[in-house]
Amino acid sequence: MTSSLGIPRFIIITVPALGVVSLLLLSLGISPLTIAITLARGSVLSWLKFNHVLSVWIPLLLCSCGLLFTFRAGLWNIGIEGQVVCGAIGATLVLRLGNTYLPAAMLLSLSFLSAFLAGGVWGALAGFLKNRGGVNEIFGGLGLNFVAQGAILWFILGPWKREGMASMSGTDLFARELWMWVPRGWRTAPAALILTVTVFLFTAFILSATRFGLKIKAVGLNPKASRLFGINPDLTGFTAMIIGGGLAGLAGAVQVSCVYHRLIPSISSGYGYLALLIVMLANYKVTLTPIICLLFACLTAGSIQLPITLQIDSSLSGVIQGTLVLSGLLAHGLQQRRLLRKGS
């Protein structure tokens, strides 16, 4: 985790990245310090605002945990967006049974299980296409994202449309008792927070302290060599896709039951794609992932201050996020190259 100079690698990557972002902002005539202060004020300087950050952090970290499994297995799970969407559909399917005799807590629990299964099945499809059809997981995932997007539009305009309406606004709100409980003065459901932290600890444990985690790592590093140790790389990768999809599905469930309380066309909020950038910026390291998720959640939640306070379009935060990732990857690549040269 540290360079030959004793400086943490994270610092070596992020400082140049922040430098590039600052230069970009200066070239646009915007003070980086003003932007930083504005984003900080809009994200962490009050309990309510920090709650808004958490409501972004939760689905982002769930997606990122899913991606840690697939990246570790050497798979680019671009289909994660579709897996979030399918998870949201799976959760909605259960929550729409709100008038049954099942208690609300049980329905909510079942909705999360359903979301995990739906996301997992969608992940499994991408894995199946790769293993049996020879379709690269990137192209398979992209295709499945389009299918999932089509499916959610169909549900919203078709069987789940509001009474007397045909609108992309989304389905009817769920019954109030099916909203996850949020204490007074909070904006995030504690249960979702606990679930996310548990999922993160589970991910860290599986990947670093179990035989299965070691198998995934072996497959990711060298699938051919892993066979010599009796590991089936196809099966291991397939399992990683199912787990990754399932965790992304949980993010979809959080979006419908905690954030929007209904199904909307853009239910994934792009968190799947954003999580891809986060995990890459974290250099696929488990420990760094929640911290970078928090940084990106601050950028997303705080970005709303840009138009309010500075009359700057909030899409600038997307530019900052993208530039951070690209610069971070570049800094990481250059550092790796330097180390290789030293080694040779």
Binding site: L48, S55, M168, S266, S269, G270, A301
Partner: protein
């Protein structure tokens, strides 16, 4: 060293106290209000009309300061919800918050319950009638049915083919009400003024799925408008928040087609392609905002459901009329008198277009002969009317 530390702490505390007091003194003389707009503040349509009315409030009420956020929709601001934005506006001191879209209904209701000390105005909703909101939320809307009747009338007076298209947003009671009003205006002009066979009037609606284009989610309004013209429709009435119908009509005119369009929402809506513009029915939010914000500022707030009629004495008066209609460069002046007479008949109540015999699209009776619809029947119109093409639900 200890003395220096104490001195520094004292200075810091004094600064903190000074800035705190200063900001609280300033806050007393000001009245910040928030405006959440579903589209961009410069969309030449729905959101710009609200934005400009908000700016006008700053001139009318000394101390009023607008804090606005535009593009408030899940596609443009993923992960951001109405309650989150309201929390933020409240933390900035907003005492009243306006949400300008039907799409914000659920979020506004939730936010108004979270902040009972703040007044809310939800545009185009009807929570006050249905009793779903608290007393701190009022509804505001203009009687655009009249504006749409004028749009339909002008379209039918100008159409050469008798084929009028309506570029619809999403389907709900509001959009059914407005398209039906446009159809009734068109049918009146076609049959009563031009004395043509009602069977020769084609009035078709295509719904794109939302108030404006969301790539990958809605139908593309540019393609839909182009398809209308390619199918022989020579006038397009727009029901969406943006100007695609007019822009496409302008392009087609340059290509030699004799087509016209009627944009919506914003008084300068014709500016995108003036030569192709027949006219524009528009909202003027100044009278409604003035009443509700004024009441809130003076402590006279009460929950209201305002469905405001045009100022018939002067429908384009920016201070008094919540609804207006401006003719465009594409309007033929020989139809001016007919339009003026039509407006006068609507104004004095001698012409009530929502009067029977009228059937719903499925053939069932909506209004029997000589029976006029109540406000409630018009507000909650459950279907399109017989003679209109397009989906009702």
């Amino acid at each position: 060293m200890k003395h220096i530390t104490i001195l520094l702490q004292t200075i810091l505390a004094a600064c903190f106290l000074f800035f705190s007091l200063n900001s609280s003194f300033g806050a007393d003389s000001k009245y910040p209000f928030g405006l959440l707009m579903v589209g961009p503040s410069n969309d030449h349509g729905w959101s710009q009309a609200h934005f400009e009315a908000g700016k006008e409030m700053e001139k009318i009420f000394p101390g009023a300061e607008m804090i606005y956020i535009d593009k408030v929709n899940p596609a443009d601001r993923p992960g951001i919800t109405i309650p989150m934005l309201v929390d933020d506006l409240v933390s900035k001191g907003a005492k009243l918050i306006i949400g300008n879209s039907d799409d914000m209904k659920d979020g506004m209701r939730e936010a108004s319950m979270m902040h009972p000390e703040i007044n809310f105005i939800h545009i185009s909703g009807d929570d006050v009638i249905t009793g779903k909101s608290g007393v701190n939320l009022s509804n505001l809307m203009g009687r655009m049915t009249y504006g749409k009747m004028m749009a339909g009338f002008t379209a039918a007076m100008s159409s050469q083919t008798g084929k009028i298209a309506y570029l619809g947003p999403l389907i709900n009671a509001e959009t059914r009400r407005l398209t039906a009003a446009a159809y009734l205006g068109a049918r009146y002009a076609w049959t009563k003024i031009r004395k043509k066979d009602p069977a020769d009037l084609k009035f078709k609606i295509s719904w794109i799925g939302f108030w404006f284009n969301i790539p990958g989610v809605t139908s593309d309004p540019t393609l839909v408008a182009g398809s209308f013209i390619d199918s022989g429709y020579d006038v397009i009435i727009s029901g969406i928040d943006t100007t695609e119908a007019l822009v496409v009509a302008g392009q087609k005119r340059k290509g030699g087609k004799d087509v016209l369009a009627i944009p919506y929402d914003y008084k300068n809506g014709c500016s995108s392609a003036p030569e192709a513009c027949l006219g524009v029915p528009y909202f003027n939010w100044v009278p409604g905002y003035t009443r509700l914000i004024g009441n809130s500022m003076t402590g006279k707030w009460k929950q209201e459901f305002l469905w405001l009629s045009p100022d018939w004495k002067s429908i384009n008066n920016p201070k008094t009329s919540p609804i207006g209609f401006k003719t465009g460069d594409g309007f033929d002046e020989k139809n001016r008198k007919a339009l003026t007479d039509f407006q006068a008949s609507l104004a004095d109540g001698s012409l009530k277009l929502f009067t029977g015999p009228l059937n719903f699209q499925d053939g069932t009776v909506f209004l029997k002969d000589k029976v006029s619809a109540t406000d409630e029947q018009i507000w909650n119109l459950p279907q399109l009317l017989e003679g209109m093409g397009g989906a009702s639900k």
